[in-house]
């Protein structure tokens, strides 16, 4: 808790004293698209520690902008865990996103996009979201962002329906703040500090309200069209089904605009 408080203080100081610009969020989605016909690819290594199962995954993501405001994406996770009988495919997902609000000013932009993500049970039957739910899952929500040369704020709100397992449906919400540590420049050459928070609420069960709140400080280095990033997510409070729970997760990855 002390670590989180310290990070919040440091971030607050950076925000109030920084004259900076930021890059794309690490764990959140972005409503800002980089133009028609653009493709962005990401490779993320994620290690999750939980009471149920420790596992690592390599998540490959590709987004393609059909036009300036519509994007489609594909997510393919590859899971590493000996307890699962070796390495195997996780739950593949398809994503569609439509940006319907755009307010641009000099050096700043506000965008909101509607988003739908369909996950397919291609992974092991583990009941773990994104890795092996054993059920189809549909997520719909909104992703918004305010990006300027001073600060970046991203938010996402959505609802996930787990088909055939309605008591596992959940409300999901995320908020992130980005502060770069170097003067904004183009071509990109900057280090960004992130603080991203995540929460989810499920329908109350026999054990009372079911929720999970997480916080993830992160660091991102961008140079040219390449970005490498890392973040560690901690659990702030949690009362969720065992397979949903996690103690912490470490993410390391990179992305490139093709």
């Amino acid at each position: 808790m002390k670590i989180i408080a310290l990070q919040l203080i440091v971030l607050s100081l950076l925000i109030t004293h920084g004259i900076l610009a930021q890059g794309p969020p690490i764990r959140l989605d972005k409503p800002i698209m980089l133009g028609a016909g653009e493709t962005t690819v990401r490779a993320l290594f994620n290690h999750v520690n939980s009471d149920y199962l420790d596992y690592s995954s390599l998540i490959l993501e590709g987004d393609y902008n059909i036009n300036r405001s519509t994007a489609v994406g594909l997510t393919v996770p590859w899971v590493f865990n000996h307890d699962l009988g070796g390495n195997r495919l996780g739950d593949v997902a398809l994503m569609g996103k439509y940006q319907f609000i755009q307010k641009d000013k000099m050096g700043q932009s506000t965008r909101v996009a509607a988003k739908v993500k369909q996950m397919f049970p291609t992974g092991a039957s583990l009941g773990i979201p994104e890795i092996g739910m054993d059920h189809y899952k549909t997520y719909a929500g909104f992703a918004g962002a305010y990006e300027s040369l001073k600060i970046g704020v991203q938010a996402e709100l959505g609802y996930a329906v787990v088909h055939g397992l309605s008591h596992h449906n959940y409300l999901s919400y995320k908020l992130g703040v980005a502060v770069p540590l170097l003067e904004p420049s183009y071509p990109a050459n900057q280090i960004n500090v992130y603080l991203e928070t995540e929460g989810m609420n499920m329908r109350s069960g026999e054990e009372g309200a079911q929720y999970g709140y997480y916080i993830a400080p992160g660091l991102q280095y961008a140079r040219g069209k390449f970005t490498v990033e890392t973040s560690i997510q901690f659990t702030v409070a949690e009362n969720l089904p065992l397979t949903y729970g996690r103690n912490w997760s470490l993410l390391f990855g990179g992305r490139m605009v093709l």
Binding site: Q22, M33, G35, A36, M106, A188, K225, V257
Partner: protein, 206 residues
């Protein structure tokens, strides 16, 4: 001797090509990060014959040149910016034949999106390059201001603005808010004290 002739020929050709080019300056809104600038630059690079593309992220300005024979129109430029996912604020083109055309806030040439604009000079105190960036940025953020150029030697800000949209007092206030005294508005002590040490000019204006 052959080398000299070759160099002269090459330079002559380069100058000839340069002279036959249209130079575009496009102010683009929405460039909130370097990746935005990348997307914009890439979109223009896709167009054959566009060269010398530069994006000034801090000012939200894209510059490039194209052969005059292309006769690139404002609509084509706006379409490219739109496809890149951003908003065209204004376009200025210096044609190879010497004509200057403007649109949007830049415009006074009678284009469909043109608007009247005026110029004035304001006394503004400052010290250095950082001051220049800060003063010009503060001025450009005021609605209706088209261009701002602060001269350290002259301690003055050359301002181009749309009189029907811009209140000059708002420009003075915006600059003073950043810590720089103007001929009309004196910055608060708090704003002045917040300036970087190299920006702390001697306060004279009242």
């Amino acid at each position: 001797m052959k080398t000299i002739i070759l160099i002269i020929t090459t330079l002559s050709l380069a100058f000839a090509v340069h002279a036959q080019s249209d130079h575009f300056t496009v102010r683009v809104d929405g460039l909130g990060c370097p990746f935005c600038a990348y997307g914009l630059e890439k979109k223009f690079k896709e167009v054959d014959k566009i060269s010398d593309i530069k994006v000034e992220l801090q000012k939200g300005v894209l510059t490039y040149q194209v052969p005059a024979s292309m006769k690139m129109t404002f609509d084509q430029v706006e379409k490219l910016v739109d496809d890149a996912g951003y908003t065209t604020e204004s376009i200025k083109v210096e044609r190879a034949d010497g004509r200057v055309e403007k649109s949007g806030k830049e415009g006074n040439s009678g284009s469909p999106t043109g608007a009247l604009q005026s110029e004035t000079k304001l006394a503004v105190s400052g010290n250095c390059g950082m001051c220049k960036d800060r003063i010009e940025k503060a001025a450009l953020e005021v609605d209706g201001v088209v261009a701002a150029n602060w001269d350290v030697a002259d301690q003055s800000l050359q301002l181009t603005f749309q009189p029907d949209k811009t209140e000059l007092e708002a420009v003075h206030r915006a600059i003073a808010k950043k810590g720089h005294d103007t001929e009309m508005v004196r910055a608060s002590d708090k704003a002045y004290n917040g300036l970087h040490s190299c920006c702390k000019y001697e306060r004279e204006l009242q």
